[in-house]
Symmetry: C2
Subunit: 126 residues, 2 copies
Amino acid sequence: MRIGELATKAGVSVRALRYYEEQGLLRSVRSTSGQRHYAEEAVDRVQLIQHLYAAGLASRTIAELLPCVDAKVSTPESRARLSAERERIDRQITELIQTRDRLDAIIELTERPDVTGCLVKASGAA
Amino acid sequence: MRIGELATKAGVSVRALRYYEEQGLLRSVRSTSGQRHYAEEAVDRVQLIQHLYAAGLASRTIAELLPCVDAKVSTPESRARLSAERERIDRQITELIQTRDRLDAIIELTERPDVTGCLVKASGAA
DNA sequence: CTTGCCTCTGACGTCAACGTCAGGTTCTAG
DNA sequence: CTAGAACCTGACGTTGACGTCAGAGGCAAG
């Protein structure tokens, strides 16, 4: 498939795909006229890239991780990098859960209709 | 306390605190000479701000949420906004967990020492 | 063959959350 | 009283992941 189709299927922009290639995250086969062509698997790969971006990884980091994903080969460094990022994501999840809980508490406070007094008086209504 | 102390206690830069004030997220009492002074609670507030940033909220969004946190007052819109952001964070957590699990799978693949063949040959070793 | 959409390569624009530097004031320890 | 740290207000710089525009070529339909 060509770049437009991949963009649609993966839910990203054409520009993003070119950018991924520029960053070494995505490869394409070029036709004689220079147009990019992709296999079906590229859809999955693009989505993985998106998820890693969403997890806060930078292009450089992703570029360092993907080769060992492809080759299923690991050096001590790549393994360290993989688990380091895994831990980072894990901490991020923990933090997000805390933030969500805090938001929940806030919602609880602002939504409680039985403490109507605070809406007007905002005095020490325990 | 003054801005430097707050920065240290909250673990952010002085510049960041001034930026928060500029964005309407943090208030300070000015001394006659113009220096900012904060109460102890500011430490908590700054950390909440940081967590919301970490959860992907923009300054504008935080600025819209904080007043109803402060006043513990809620309009229908503020309630909608609060739970909308809560849902966003929730989806983000789900997505992060998926990404983490995917990383785990990758780590499993690259770390497995019993499939030594793929390190050199990378053939169809099931 | 032409119309119209898709694609190409630069290359500059954007936006947010600060970093950083300049030039001047204020506070505090000795 | 004085040196040095901390603070002030602008205001420009930075970074990453793209958006967007310009100008030129490619491809299927009629």
